[in-house]
Subunit: 782 residues, 2 copies
């Protein structure tokens, strides 16, 4: 086990004393040992009431042969080693498993914890205790969080339901059983279902009791009211279809015009605060659940086209964005909401301080990006995890239909149908069935699966067109092994934010398409807390300076998270590609083709098995000599090749090749319910990316796909003459990858990607001019 903490801020001794008093550790005791004893009494406040404090202290070791109770009763002086051993026990680490009672300082070091240096005076002890309170336990949160989850802040000398900061972070002082659960309906500026009324959307609120207004953390999730899984399956597209030749064309697209904001009429009459009970949101968005007892309201809206809301699902278009931000306008006091769908009784968010953050993964984080690009007032920051920044980069690539990993045949229409939960209320569906079927037809036409080109439809769904509107700060999170929302999404967004006058931070982890809230090795929740305490509560914690710009989890060593100056910044290195053949075919024998269509994972295994010749004619490979170093940016292939037909599709993978125990990209569950998010409140499961028990033969660094008719750009369909050589550039997905010299770096070039592209099994042969092929690698030597 190794702890990496980035969100502890440096404070001077004076501040530490004030903060220690604030959380109940008075500093009037004289003498180092006496002060430690006084602090321990506070930690065992429950036992103190019943006189069994000493029993608890007798369960702790001061030295390998003496209990804490016995040590405190003795005349022996406090030493750093004793404090170190005590700290490991208080932090919940397991003796013999996590630490060695005979070597507590070494154990702390191995765990990634700072050494205990001096505990000679009471001042030293106060400093060390301050540090202990900010240190992570075995359970993914700080020791002070641990105390809070035991009910520490329910003691009478703390003021309930009042904001309290410690080391720059909001503490869990809000009573979970005093939360308000409310339901309102926010009118938007769009009428997507064409019923003549502006669409209302259902908004669910859970907020702490507080004497002063609190900020809001808003998660827009189209999935939240249920999904139509079978309907989606029925609409899923057949992908075993041939690539077709496109007529040369330039797809023009109009510059983006934001939809007008109509309603700007906040509630001016005395706000009617009558609101409704509703069950609390299901646990699952555990980041929001963590934030709630710390004084941040949780707001959920599934948006247009979902149960109890109006409108249609439009899959990322400007109307959806427009509807999404109506909720922020309500929270900011710029728009009314209603207590029911009859739009009669208005209600103000008078409990809200007007500061809003948006959170969420995947589609949820995508809507956070969409909202940020409107510059809507009140939105102070977004924390998108694994989010889309342009829908073209989700469902298309370089003029091709390319599926999100694991979702062959999905497209905008399928996603709209899946999330159109109004269909689950059949009386409601009666009214909008015709309109939604028309919407589906429009989506199908606009997304244009036959061309795969970038057109007006996709341009409308490219949030990066209007990044300059972003006024809020951005904390961006993405998994380097995310093949669902591919890395181009965060990379292009990150590059686009570069010159904006906002604060921006980036966290890259080694997972797939997963949340990062519950990893003991990394203090993600603390980072979010520090960030939001500043952005929404104006806590003066200097988070913009305190947090590194980029944090990257290492792909070689487990539980290792490192500060990096930037992403996508390595110098380009041009490397010759010596392919093993000068040509490759697309077509394979029909029975094998069918087998691979049904088992695309097996296709990948066979493709990667370079000593197996089953797919030897369908690929060319090149071995790239290299040293130990890091790929930091977008790897590109420069190729000169021809197709035997007037159309063509090429795919490439860059592999870290060689048997090794690598990190799993799906997190391993360490402990169910191990992470307590508050006192008498939800828990989260503890996870970690661990080294796989079995060695793997290779690991994908990046892949890419290109329609040879879109060799200039995705919106320009060019002619392709059969058997004529063209110089093309094939960009792979961006990455950050630490490569050892002893592993092989391999490029595989092929046509059909059974996991992602359409699969026509067409008889096409591609010829290469090997001397003209190069790999352009963003490379930095360690």
């Amino acid at each position: 086990m190794k702890i990496n903490q980035f969100a502890t801020i440096t404070t001077d001794y004076h501040t530490q004393l004030i903060e220690l008093e604030r959380v109940g550790f008075k500093t009037n005791t004289i003498g180092a040992k006496q002060r430690l004893a006084a602090y321990l009494e506070k930690v065992y406040w429950q036992q103190q009431q019943t006189g069994s404090l000493q029993e608890q202290e007798a369960q702790l070791l001061a030295t390998p042969t003496q209990t804490m109770a016995s040590f405190l009763a003795s005349k022996a002086p406090l030493t750093p080693t004793i404090f170190a051993l005590l700290s490991l026990q208080l932090l919940g680490f397991l003796p013999w498993d996590d630490f060695d009672p005979n070597h507590p300082q070494t154990s702390r070091k191995n765990l990634g914890l700072a050494p205990i240096e001096m505990v000679t005076t009471e001042t030293d002890v106060a400093r060390a205790w301050y540090q202990l309170l900010t240190t992570h336990t075995r359970f993914g949160l700080t020791y002070l969080d641990h105390l809070a989850s035991q009910g520490y802040f329910t003691q009478p000398h703390f003021r309930q339901n009042q904001q309290l900061f410690f080391n720059g972070k909001a503490q869990a002082t809000f009573q979970t059983n005093a939360f308000h659960h409310e339901l309102v309906y926010v009118p938007t500026d769009v009428d997507t279902d064409g019923d003549g009324l502006l669409d209302l959307i259902r908004v669910e609120i859970t907020r702490p009791t507080s004497s002063v207004p609190v900020p809001a953390v808003y998660t827009a999730s189209p999935y939240d009211q249920g999904t139509n899984d079978r309907y989606g399956e029925q609409l899923t597209h057949q992908v075993d279809v041939p690539l077709t030749r496109k007529q040369p064309a330039q797809h023009h697209h109009q510059p983006f015009q934001p939809l007008p904001r109509k309603a700007k009429s906040p509630v001016t009459e005395p706000a009617t605060s009558q609101t409704l009970q509703c069950p609390p949101p299901h646990p699952g968005y555990t980041l929001n659940d963590y934030l709630l007892p710390r004084g941040f309201a949780s707001i959920y809206a599934a948006g247009i086209g979902t149960i109890d809301s109006d409108g249609l699902q439009t899959c990322g278009d400007p109307a959806q964005t427009n509807a999404t931000i109506a909720v922020i306008e309500w929270l900011h006091g710029d728009r009314p909401a209603f207590v029911s769908k009859n739009r009669k009784q208005a209600v103000a968010a008078d409990w809200c301080n007007g500061n809003v953050a948006m959170t969420g993964r995947s589609y949820l984080g995508t809507l956070a990006i969409a909202a940020a690009t409107t510059g809507v007032p009140g939105l102070k920051t977004i924390i998108p995890e694994a989010a889309i920044s342009s829908w073209y980069d989700y469902y298309r690539e370089n003029g091709l239909v390319v599926a999100p990993g694991g979702f062959q045949g999905e497209d905008c229409d399928v996603l709209a149908a899946e999330t159109f939960s109004r269909r689950q209320r059949p009386g409601d569906y009666l009214k909008v069935q015709t309109a939604f079927e028309q919407e589906l037809a429009d989506l199908q036409q606009g997304q244009d699966r036959t061309s795969g080109s970038y057109n007006q439809f996709w341009d409308d769904r490219n949030y990066r067109n209007h990044l300059q509107q972003i006024k809020c700060d951005v904390l961006l999170v993405h998994g380097l092994n995310d093949e669902n929302v591919k890395l181009k999404n965060p990379a292009a967004l990150w590059a686009g934010l570069k010159d904006l006058p906002i604060s921006k931070k980036l966290i890259l982890h080694q997972g797939q398409h997963v949340y990062l809230n519950n990893f003991p090795s990394f203090d993600f929740t603390d980072i979010v807390n520090l960030w939001l305490s500043n952005k929404l509560y104006q806590c003066d914690n200097h988070v913009d300076q305190a947090l590194p710009t980029v944090i990257v989890q290492d792909n070689l060593l487990p539980e290792t998270w490192e500060t990096r100056p930037n992403w996508l910044t390595a110098p380009q290195k041009s490397l010759p590609l010596s392919f093993n053949h000068a040509s490759f075919h697309n077509e394979i024998e029909p029975a094998t083709f069918k087998f691979y269509c049904q088992n695309p994972e097996r296709w990948k295994t066979d493709l990667w098995n370079l000593s197996d010749d089953r797919l030897a004619n369908q690929r060319v490979t090149a071995l790239i000599p290299h040293k130990t170093g890091t790929i930091n940016g977008i790897p590109r292939l420069e190729l000169t090749l021809s197709s035997s037909q007037p159309l063509g599709l090429i795919s490439a993978m860059l592999l870290d090749y060689g048997e090794a125990h690598r990190l799993t990209t799906q997190p391993t569950k360490l402990m169910p319910n191990g992470m307590p998010l508050g006192y008498r409140w939800y828990t989260d499961n503890l996870f970690e990316f661990t080294l796989a028990q079995q060695p793997s033969a290779a690991h994908l660094i990046a892949r890419g796909h290109l329609n040879l008719q879109n060799r200039i750009s995705a919106d320009q369909d060019q002619n392709l003459i059969a058997n004529q050589f063209y110089h093309v550039e094939l960009p792979l997905q961006p990455t950050y990858y630490h490569l050892l010299a002893e592993r092989k770096l391999v490029v595989i070039l092929f046509s059909t990607d059974f996991q992602m592209t359409i699969r026509g099994n067409q008889a096409i042969t591609y010829q290469l001019q090997p001397q003209a092929s190069r790999l352009i690698l963003p490379w930095q030597t360690d």
Copy 2:
């Protein structure tokens, strides 16, 4: 989806009217349609407050082309079809996926729901509505439970925190935010750690606020304060050791003498009810979480040898039983408890009505059985799931060391070490390390892995020795595919309960070692509710008559649960065994041996692959002709065989052979957090045993193992002469298995079971007299 409900009781119309009134459905409206409208208003009580009732009714269909709102405003009469369509929507089923809006009555039938027959008068509607409230939704609970989870019982006209029964079951009327969380220390009658003081055990209580005493559901879980996983791994025994010859011996064992109960001094002074806050138990024992808002307190104790308790882990011995029931004596008013470990301030369980049930799976259920066999006053019923009734049947079999499935090398000492969580408090551990190491040595000697015979140690851990002491009713639950706690445990217990004057019921499901609390196809929680409402609250629901004695989940059809008159009762059918060879060897080639040791699942696959001859010399097989029918009881092999050495180990498996899509024995997660256990309270994930997506070649019906030196009994080690033929009987594990005529029934006989027995790879050959081999099958033809 298919719903099977066993816990709805038949009530007359008069009772139904009283109960409908009790849960807020007044019956004073005249006219069928009017009464339905009045009921719907109650269901949408939240919307009624804000005037949007009609909006909700407009989301429902009355007919495929008319909403409920429009129907109610019309003059059209109510029909059974309209009520049926309405009911499916209210129950949360999905249009088009779960039901066809054009054929609601057929849809109800397909879902396993009773038809809606007559809704002509308001009386008909009241009856149909009563039925609706007791019907299960898509989410594994009744419609009334669904309303309660939305806050229905928080309406002012209901009395909070007061018991309310509907259809014989306790309803969720207790406020979850008014629960009391307490901690006490109960003194036991044992001093297992030998410190001169009777061991105290820590008891955690969560109980509803109530004006009258409530009953308690007690779960004794040695795992609950944490486990020493690495310590357990270190102690795990090497199983790649040879079988050794035993000297002939008869292992005598003393008849069981219950340990004396010493302390019978309840709190006689005015009870000091000062108790402590503690965090609520982690969600996980969801059955208890379901029961809490329904008026049943939850009690957890990890018992002797765990954090914050005294004593040692003794793995199932009489001292552990003795300590376990001390908690019941406290709850029943027969014993004091203390507010802290200093034993100064006593506290009475004055909130408890003295009626206690015990619940839990595996070791937890095992301690429930242990407690029941003491006849302790106050214990009214136990609900053991997948529990051990004799530890010999967990770690041993017929004179052999035989592991629980998946836990090769585990034994009593390993389990004691794993659960001895006092080791995680190193100061506390200092005091008891010597005593615990002695305890481990005693366990190692007593369990005697070299002989595998039944001795005094195991007899002390055989709860079936004193079944006649059981005074409480028993609801027994076990998975027919449980290879961890094998089927002999519930079967021998069930057989032993036969003549006791108690009420007993049995549920057999198709799972492995799993809980059964959250399957939409089966109303297990209702059954428990009906059972406990009667046993602990004396609700006169006639549960003993209403519930079938035995419920068995079918192994062929998914989501099919059937009433059966009994288990283990089929007539014995003697069938000749025509083995394919007359001998088999134990030894295999060393590399293969090593591979199978590391991959015991692969060994099983190869053993079962009868067309593969890799293990052809290590097995003999026989095909049993049969018709469609059911194996109900203990299959036995009668064999005449010899061993080439003066020792021997034989194993057998009975297989359902033939490619088929079979039920998975691990449940499939249908919906995370899909099952709400109360209003603003925990949720459970919804699971189901579903048909596997891939066909399987065979399924294990039962297996068994025998030491040839224990051919008479496990406590009698007999001489075995090499190459001499003996007649032996090899009982397999009991089962209930529905077998189709078109599947093959196959017996495989072999020696080393890589998954369960020791693995010596000894050069032993077994000879059979085929004409003298028979399978005795408890068989009933369908």
